[in-house]
């Protein structure tokens, strides 16, 4: 139980992210089935059956993640608040979860039956899933405007599911379409639905932003505001891709047109999942309107972001606390941070010492130099005039070694904690896995760049990992209070994350778009440019 308490924060977000993603896939699939693939044409039966299979899978996955979330939260409450199962069972989150599970299982059963008469019936449990999700949203806990905010939240989530979830089913339907005329009908119907969804999504998002952020200074002055701004930028990227798709859908038919549509759709789904995960992590933050004190000012931001020479000399390891994680726990137990609100299992946040800040800046600046070099070489390689520049992925090996030595100075090989002991600390273990992943990334992409791997799927590993790892940064730090240092750190990390997502998906599109599509050429230059900018931003990263 103590172990469960320790990882509760991690589990909660894991389940929330899963729930939102599977909810979008389930609801999006049902809407697609009813309003896009609604043809009675017997040839469309193949499409319907494929959609039903995926709706069933998504609904079952939704039921499993909801059940896991209820179980984890129930166990935590029973253990930490000495409650009985009967006490917990009446809680709002349990009722919402049971509603979602029952609805998801109903959808799975209806989808399994496969009868077309069941398609409209599935809309009812889909609406109930939406209702259950709203029951555990920010809106339900607000003191004012609770009902209107709940309605707007439902519209926001429903529109997201219709657009991004539906797009997933469009990509399933296109290759199974019996003829090109039918394909174009599908695309045209989905385009109209997507346009409507985007309009509702934007209007609802603006309303929620106004209600939860409230003012301009809260956008840059609080963690919540920064995350909302990041989500808005990613939404803008999605809109751009959607506009490209819309333009293609209206152009004369052809194989390249359909191929382009599918490739843009893949990127849209990928960025869309990033936005959904960002939304999941947003629910971990108190709305900006509730944090009125200690916001970061423009003067503080300017002072922090003003360009300065990089720190290329490291502080001595003896200047660092012996065990950073133990120091955090001691600080919390001592009560120095006892005013902070925190989630069970979350360690107390301790202000870093100047030596720790210097250590971190040194790490970021050298990593920045390596990434800047990678970007420059990748740029040169794209010109085709410098064949040796294609070896740029090998520089990731240097980054891996650097991370291995520097990320956890209190552990082996630099610190006193032995190798096996380090593997018991989840955070250190994750850093070690990350270092190994970077090695895998380097080897894979080097083989791709130098022509040693020809399969297309292997070439997609690099962009997928870059986009995924960049999404990691969006949830890197979440202070429940308004801890200025954490807000400033997020202000630095958010642009890095957005650039990383852009780099990953632009490389993906370069590889996947047909040669006839001119956007492909722009994408070929966009991702090295993003890497260059990431390197420059890392070089100016500061913690003091």
């Amino acid at each position: 139980m103590a172990r469960l308490l320790q990882i509760f924060g991690f589990l909660s977000v894991l389940f929330r992210g899963g729930t939102l993603s599977f909810e979008s896939l389930t609801i999006g699939g049902i809407v697609f089935l009813n309003f896009v693939a609604c043809s009675r044409n017997p040839q469309s039966e193949v499409i319907n059956q494929a959609c039903l299979r995926w709706i069933r899978r998504a609904a079952l996955a939704l039921a499993v993640t909801q059940l896991a979330y209820i179980l984890a939260s129930t166990l935590i409450l029973m253990q930490s608040a000495s409650m009985t199962l009967a006490d917990v069972s009446g809680a709002n989150f349990v009722l919402a979860g049971v509603l979602a599970i029952a609805s998801a299982l109903t959808i799975a059963a209806l989808a399994g039956a496969g009868s077309s008469k069941g398609y409209p019936v599935m809309l009812v449990p889909a609406l109930l899933i939406l209702l259950s999700s709203v029951m555990t949203s920010h809106a339900m806990a607000r003191l004012e405007y609770r009902f209107p905010l709940a309605v707007v939240t439902a519209l926001h989530q429903g529109a997201t599911a219709t657009w991004l979830g539906g797009l997933f089913y469009l990509l399933i339907a296109i290759p199974r379409s019996p003829e090109s005329r039918f394909t174009r009908q599908l695309i045209a119907r989905f385009s109209k639905l997507a346009l409507l969804s985007v309009a509702v999504l934007a209007a609802a998002g603006f309303t929620l932003g106004f209600a939860y952020v409230g003012s301009l200074d809260a956008i840059y002055g609080t963690s919540y505001g920064i995350m909302v701004a990041t989500k808005t930028v990613l939404f803008g990227t999605l809109l751009l891709l959607g506009a490209l798709n819309f333009q293609i859908a209206r152009s004369p038919s052809g194989g390249a047109v359909i191929a382009s549509l599918k490739r843009f759709g893949e990127a849209e789904i990928g960025i869309g999942i990033t936005v959904i995960l960002t939304a999941a992590s947003l629910t971990s933050l108190p709305p900006a309107v509730d944090l009125r004190t200690d916001r970061v000012s423009t003067q503080e931001i300017v002072a922090r972001l003003a360009p300065q020479p990089p720190r290329l000399a490291s502080p001595s390891i003896q200047d660092l606390p012996e065990d950073i994680y133990a120091a955090e726990v001691i600080a919390f137990d001592a009560g120095t941070l006892s005013s902070a609100s925190f989630v069970p299992g979350q360690a107390g946040t301790r202000p870093n010492t100047p030596a720790e800040k210097s250590w971190s800046e040194y790490n970021h600046h050298w990593a920045g130099l390596i990434v800047l070099s990678i970007g420059l070489l990748a740029f040169l390689a794209q010109t085709k005039h410098f064949p040796r520049a294609r070896n740029w992925p090998l520089l990731f090996l240097g980054l891996s070694v650097f991370l291995f030595f520097r990320s956890d100075p209190e552990t082996w090989p630099l610190g006193p904690n032995g190798f096996w002991v380090t593997l018991q600390d989840p955070e250190v273990l994750l850093h070690r896995i990350f270092a190994l992943l970077v090695i895998a990334l380097a080897v894979f992409e080097w083989r791709v760049q130098t022509g040693r791997v020809a399969t297309e799927r292997a070439r997609l590993i690099f962009p997928a990992l870059v986009a995924g790892a960049s999404a990691l940064l969006l949830a890197h730090s979440h202070s429940l209070g308004n801890i200025k240092e954490e807000v400033l750190a997020e202000l630095s990390h958010a642009p890095l994350a957005v650039l990383g997502v852009l780099a990953g998906w632009s490389r993906w599109l370069e590889l996947r778009l047909p040669a006839e599509n001119k956007v492909r050429d722009s994408m070929a230059w966009l991702w090295p440019s993003c890497l260059l900018l990431i390197g420059l931003l890392l070089l100016n990263y500061r913690e003091m």
């Binding site: 991690f10 992210g17 930490s80 920010h138 999941a280 609100s341 299992g345 994750l430 429940l480």
Partner: protein, 124 residues
């Protein structure tokens, strides 16, 4: 795609997603103000307690615990029919010393948060 490549891809993506989520925590009930306030000095022996949060609280599933100077703990009964965003209680007969109120709340949206309020009790 060779099976080994597929395995590597799946493992890599899973690890990235896991790391993306690892640093997050899901909750947003935060303490806005309290009586006694943090690090305050109050006159004993009877102390009225009131904690106000930024959101609606499920009071029946929330807990208040008093940590005494000798580190022993005492569960505090939460007053019923209080405001939707607050927890109220009363600590009786406290001798002078350093105390802490440990709180755990379940917000209406199903998220759990905790915290502590250190304060000092003096002679009346």
């Amino acid at each position: 795609m060779r099976p080994i490549h597929r395995v590597v891809l799946v493992v890599c993506l899973f690890a990235v997603v896991a790391m993306f989520l690892a640093h997050s925590a899901m909750a947003h009930a935060i303490l806005l103000e309290s009586s006694p306030s943090i690090n305050s000095i109050v006159a004993g022996p009877n102390i009225p307690i009131r904690l106000r949060f930024n959101v609606r609280i499920d009071a029946t599933r929330s807990r208040l615990t008093l940590v005494k100077p000798d580190a022993s703990t005492q569960s505090l009964a939460i007053t019923k029919d209080g405001p939707l965003d607050a927890l109220a209680s009363q600590a009786q007969g406290l001798p002078p010393g350093e105390y802490r109120i440990r709180w755990q709340v379940l917000a209406s949206d199903g998220h759990i948060t905790r915290g502590e309020i250190p304060f000092q009790v003096t002679q009346p």
